[in-house]
């Protein structure tokens, strides 16, 4: 039964691979998102130009190794994602992967993910791990491949085009019954990293689990994120990016814009719908519209960033 369904859905998804379609471009104007049809960015070069050059593309929750009914071909949908990024009129300078690269932290899953990532035209990729990337008994598979940037700590910062990027890890020091945790050591490092930085520097913070509480019963949040936000509040433009929940949720709080990205693998239910945050099975022809990426452009450089979500179909 399902054997008939999935090859068909893959074919449909491949037909719908053209850039644009269901996506929406979000321009940040005075601290409020203004949605603009993505078709402008895709088809009208002059129109696209006023939104600025794509600064980076966020890929999230690729879950290589997942093979259940919700999407039996996650390598295929990651390849589609890569084709969409490669097809962008202006190539982003960076790719940021916000975790759950793999489903079960297995070496073969990491190997396949890395092999697929080599097809990206943009070669500079920055990552943070998800809790699915750190389930191996020794927690070494992720760090042996992606740990260099952070000296195996999982958190690090870098600058690009006048924007200060901070990658954080909130999936290791989990508390039983609780939310994700940054921990005192990491928060102290952030304080030192931000010290002396001009408040006019645009900041991008990225981590796997949401850095604000979206739904506590499912652990969709980070218990000590408030301490991080207190440090970020003085900056004029802060963009906080996460994955983990496989759907777009966003909010604006003062100068801080929070945004979670879609997954490239499978959707998850809305908060609190069903028994838990597991894979959501949807009809094959609806899957592509529920998967996607986020691209971030510089608007009015260097003071503001614009987010732009693109679905696979």
């Amino acid at each position: 039964m399902s054997d008939d369904k999935y090859p068909l859905s893959r074919r449909n998804a491949l037909k719908c691979m053209a850039y644009g379609g269901a996506g929406t471009l979000f321009a940040l104007s005075g601290g409020v998102f203004t949605p603009i049809d993505l078709a402008i960015a895709a088809s009208d070069r002059q129109g696209a130009a006023k939104f600025g050059k794509p600064l980076f593309v966020q890929i999230s929750d690729t879950h290589i190794g997942f093979n259940k009914e919700a999407n039996p071909d996650v390598a295929g949908t990651l390849s589609q994602t890569i084709n969409i990024v490669n097809g962008m009129v202006d190539q982003p300078a960076l790719i940021i992967h916000t975790g759950d690269i793999t489903h079960l932290s297995k070496p073969a899953e990491f190997d396949l993910a890395q092999q697929l990532f080599t097809h990206l035209r943009t070669t500079e990729m920055h990552t943070v791990p998800g809790e699915h990337d750190t389930t191996d008994a020794t927690v070494t598979e992720y760090f042996s491949r992606f740990g260099k940037a952070s000296d195996n700590k999982g958190y690090y910062s870098f600058d690009h085009a006048g924007v200060h990027f901070i990658g954080l890890i909130n999936v290791l020091q989990f508390k039983p019954g609780g939310l994700g945790t940054l921990g005192e050591e990491q928060l102290a490092w952030v304080a030192a990293d931000l010290k002396g930085r001009s408040s006019s520097t645009p900041i991008v913070v990225f981590a796997h689990m949401p850095l604000w509480t979206i739904y506590e019963p499912w652990g969709w949040g980070t218990g000590d994120a408030d301490q991080l936000m207190n440090q970020l509040r003085r900056f004029g433009s802060v963009t906080v990016l996460n994955g983990h929940i496989h759907q777009i949720v966003q909010k604006v709080e003062g100068n801080i814009t929070f945004h979670t990205a879609r997954s490239t693998s499978y959707p998850q239910p809305l908060a609190g719908v069903g028994s838990g945050p597991g894979p959501l099975k949807v009809p094959g022809d609806q899957l592509g519209a529920m998967l996607g990426i986020t691209s971030v452009n510089v608007v009015k450089h260097p003071s503001a960033l614009a987010l732009n979500d693109t679905a696979l179909a």
Partner: protein
Amino acid sequence: MNSRRTQMLLTAVGLVILGAMEVYVPSIADTADSTKIVAKDFMFNPTPLTVKAGSTVTWTNLDDEPHTVVSDTGLFKSGGMDTNESYSFKFERPGTYHFTCSIHPRMVGTVVVQ
């Protein structure tokens, strides 16, 4: 009349007893294999599980989503268990052992070793 009423009463009592028997459904802990815990619908069941010292407890994941079993004290730690995969640990000493799924920290459970 009297005897018929008695008979009806007895029938009613019988139904109540039968009803009580039907309500009693043995939990996993009561069945022959009392060292198994399942992860299903994002919950560990049964919890707490009581076993004798020297027992090997086996956790099995019945969800589409992977789960782990991580001891709060670091005594035991499974890797990611995919659907229908299991992990076992032998409890040598009496005590109360709490564990969590590190992927879904809301999932907690307890093994009591006697």
